[in-house]
Amino acid sequence: MTVDLAIVGAGPAGMAAAALAAELGLATLVIDAEAAPGGQIYRAVEEAAEGSPLGADYLAGRGLAAALRASAAQYRPGTTVWHIDPAAPQGAALSMIADGVSETVTARRILLATGALERPVAIPGWTLPGVMTAGAAQILLKSAGIVPDGRAVLAGQGPLLALIALQLARAGAPPALVLQTTPRRNYAAAARHLGALWPGRLEIARGAALPLGLRRHGIAVRRGVRGLRALGRDRLEAVAWAGGEVAADHLFLHEGVIPDTQISRGLELAHTWDAAQLCWRPVTDAWGGSSLPTVAVAGDAAGIAGAEAAALTGRLAALDAAARLGHLGAAERDRRAAPLRAGLRRARAIRPLLDALYRPPAAVFAPEDAVILCRCEEVTAGQIRRAVRLGAPGPNQVKAFTRCGMGPCQGRMCGPLVTALIAGERGVPVAEIGPYRPRAPYKPLTLGALAGAQFATEEASTSPR
């Protein structure tokens, strides 16, 4: 199969890009690992009904999913991209797997819309059953109406944390306690971005309503929390912090989200350290174009800006793809982009304020020695620090010394922390340390799937490289 544009991910960016690209006449393929469109933010949105405890902003995603379904774009749910060769003869060769069967397609262009993941929060005890991300609680609610039973504690910060607390309360499962970790000095830092108040007024109004909602549901909120710990033997039993402790059946952690750069780093796209959002992101131009001519990145995968901005950057990338493939003149591309850019400026206006206000406390990047950093290979922060003292200069060497990042998650969870730890131990800025270099397969696959892989026609007579 050969397509004009292959889009990886069916969240807001991928859905919006696909609908527009197909409308502009591009043979478009959307590949998504989940069973239904929506991404994380609009997960299972097609099933949602008016009056959903998830709220009106969530329901806004229904239009994007409907537009994808109505479009001529081919949509492959339940499908995982495991390899991309960006410099194949006719564009890029993309290998994907569904139900154990692998297939390789040729795409003239690739759009990575892989979204975001929750920042790892390696507190003591974070590997105990009962400790999950706040996003995980929301996923259970969105996908199947499942809520925590027993005493739930939400800990961390960010717009999502209070929202999830409220959604759980509306679904009849209010958390017992919200522990907010926002350092006091963040408020002063955020005050420097008051220029965002007017353009970001809608988001601010929504955000300001959240604490009020929590109070109405009788959810206790404790601010300025430090020294979080999950306690228990084989399961979570209690949550402790500097100056307090409560018995708990669930702890949901959240310190914001970071771009999912596993594939973009694997492709060796140029990346930069975002000092405001404290994460790596691919370097992109005004259309999402990356350092590779056949690859673009849209949505949160290119830097955290939220669902509304994601849909807009997805459309910008679709316009550019259409122009580069001769379906749209440059002038028409620019004319159509103008209202999208205006929307993007508005949607992004609040971001500097949010980034400053919810900047994770320094402790998030400096777990204690005894804490397991690599959940897969069970490597502690102390072992990683020792490898650095023994001379491992960067994450890829620390990996060779300790096995951290060598497990099934391929460094997705420990990566950001390992880099931060090395920077701290060596006294070098994070930007100079760099991230892990991921390699294909981007998700583990069986030898059977690989042996049975069907490769594109031009490669059919040769063995896979």
Binding site: A33, E34, A35, Q40, A44, E47, A49, G51, S52, P53, T80, L117, E118, T127, L128, P129, G130, V131, M132, T133, G135, A136, I139, L140, L141, S143, A144, G145, I146, V147, P148, D149, G150, R170, A171, G172, A173, D234, R235, D249, D260, R375, C376, E377, E378, G407, P408, C409, R412, M413, K443, P444
Partner: protein, 103 residues
């Protein structure tokens, strides 16, 4: 432990899909993943880690962390959060690393 939400009228969730978790039948709602079934089943943990054999449970539920690894319909090391529950699905705890079998 987890349960089905029971909030506004008309929003009650029906658990209609029977799956076997560690041999015990658990009914889960449409849209639930195998990981969600493991959580609804109320097991204290859903896997023993590969190195230390420590108790673990699902962590991120979005395909990132691989802590929800389980044996599904006889195939070990599946990311149970990425697999939708189907009627009759057999889900078991992942007990450490998968043994290598020579055939």
């Amino acid at each position: 432990m987890f349960r089905l939400r029971a909030d506004a009228p008309g929003a009650t969730i029906a658990a209609t899909i029977p799956v076997a978790v560690e041999g015990r039948i658990v009914r889960v709602p449409q849209g639930a993943s195998a990981a969600a079934a493991l959580l609804l089943a109320g097991l204290p943990s859903s896997r023993d880690s590969a190195v230390a054999g420590a108790a673990r449970g699902p962590y991120c539920l979005m395909g990132v962390c691989f802590d929800c690894l389980a044996e599904i319909d006889g195939v070990a090391n599946q990311q149970s959060c990425m697999v939708r529950a189907r009627p009759g699905m057999r889900i078991r705890r992942q007990r450490g690393a998968r043994p290598l079998e020579a055939e």
